[in-house]
Amino acid sequence: MDWLNAGVQGVLLGGQYALLACGLSLIFGVMRIVNLAHGVLAVLAAYLSLVLVQQGLPLWLAIVVVVPLFAALGYAVQRGLFNPALAQVGQDAAGGARGAGELAPLLVSFGVAVALTNLLQEVFSADTRKIPTGDLASAGLPLGDLSVGVLPLLTLGVAVAVIAAVQLFLARTSTGRAMRAVADDAGAAAMTGVDPKHMYAVATALAFATLGLAGVFVGMSTQFSPGYGDLVLLFAFEAVIIGGLGSLWGTLAGGMVLGLAQTIGAQIDPQSGVLAGHLVFLAVLVVRPGGLMPRSVQA
């Protein structure tokens, strides 16, 4: 009974991790950039929606505002910070497959993460907050002898829907196709009329939009503070690695595995849930360094 409960809660927790990791996975899949500011940006989205809700906006309207805002922020960050960093290194004459230029954006994103965390501390202090959701956070559905939280279930549903939508976009639209082409060979994509710099920015905009959404859901379910981004980044990163770098369905699976490891670990020993997650992550790295479903972004 308790084990079954741990399993169900693990899958639900996995939904939140997958939603958080989707943007990280997409940015890595298209550009091979690891965005270290991912976690603190999710926290920023949580604070933004908190402020909007405190101003009297209904939560759904706060989401409608935050998601496009984050898409715009993603486009700007890519064009203003990541693209110049990518261009500094590795861009050979023919626009090469991909140069050695991935380290520079990683360092830039680290700088953004550190600065933004401190900025959030200045503005909001280090106190923990939570986005008020009325009854939603505590509501539960009876499922046999178990009680399943409505909010975690909603989060899981949103995670699956977001990942399916991004996959559909990549597989079926001409922009999605161009994005995969840029991921394969940016120089060759340029020869077919795709502007890689613009396409990178579109990918980051999409990733930030999912990240903004994920941040709001984190803020609804968890007590967060400016430093909470570190944990978000860690769990999202683990989900991406476990699932296989750059594979979105793999990221969903990775989130599930991580969530299950944490809740089942906590079932064994209540202190060791997070540790169990890290151990599974480490085991995957040792046994299958490419992750469970290694593939670059594709249909």
Binding site: A93, A94, R177, R180, D185, G187, A190, T192, G193
Partner: protein
């Protein structure tokens, strides 16, 4: 008016001058073959024409309008399509998706998927395969199809024969011949002299980044070209 007019083009990689003041022109419907040994500057010339590597000096005119410093992705939208050295097929995209990338600039013209599949029936059979699993010859056909689907004003072909078996090269040049015979303006860079002469109206030979020979392809003496290749004769070509 010429489709492509290049004058005094110089391209450098650091201290190395790969193309050193080359001028050329390609008229509407014409096929120009640029010949030369390894390191003669042929591929660098094409990279500069396609906007992949910007020249140090000189001008490139497309239909009389300067495009010298226009970036690659905008140049193909204006009508310069490159079949690059090494094919550069998108490995994770299917064959059909690779071809559809050629439609990205949405240029109107005679070439659509159907026309390309008619030209390369083997490619049509493989439309659902991933680009990465194709043989070199199949990839080359896809790369040519992808460039054609941009309906270019001028088609740039870089070393179609590179690394391929002679029979495959012959088949590919059969297709290139059909393409150029149907009125497509083309600039062909090639080491394989026989194949180049099959499709070209004129040839221009490069040596050390400079033009050493310009001649009509018809009745061209192989020895003359061979001399120009290796720089044996520095005199203007004369009939022997």
């Amino acid at each position: 008016m010429n489709v492509l007019d290049v004058s005094g083009l110089a391209v450098r990689y650091g201290d190395l001058t790969a193309v050193d003041g080359v001028s050329l022109s390609v008229a509407e419907g014409e096929t120009l073959a640029v010949l030369g040994a390894n390191g003669a500057g042929k591929s660098t010339l094409l990279a500069a024409l396609a906007g992949m590597h910007l020249p140090a000096s000189g001008t490139v005119l497309l239909d009389g309008a300067p495009v010298t410093r226009v970036p690659a992705h905008q140049r193909v939208r204006r009508g310069i399509a490159l079949v690059p050295e090494g094919r550069r097929i998108f490995g994770s995209l299917t064959v059909e998706e690779n071809l559809l990338m050629g439609r990205y600039p949405k240029r109107p013209g005679p070439w659509d998927l159907r026309a390309v599949y008619d030209m390369f029936p083997l490619v049509a059979e493989m439309r659902d395969r991933r680009g990465g699993v194709l043989s070199g010859g199949q990839q080359q056909a896809v790369a040519i199809g992808r460039a054609l689907l941009a309906n270019p004003r001028v088609l740039l072909l870089d070393e179609v024969s590179l690394g391929l078996a002679p029979t495959v090269v012959a088949q590919l040049y059969d297709a290139v011949r059909q393409i150029t015979a149907s009125g497509t303006t083309a600039l062909v860079v090639e080491q394989d002299l026989d194949q180049a002469l099959r499709v070209a109206d004129r040839v221009q030979c490069l040596l050390g980044g400079r033009t050493v020979l310009e001649a009509p392809a018809a009745g061209l003496d192989r020895d003359t070209v061979a001399d120009a290749y290796f720089g044996v004769s520095h005199h203007p070509p004369s009939p022997r």
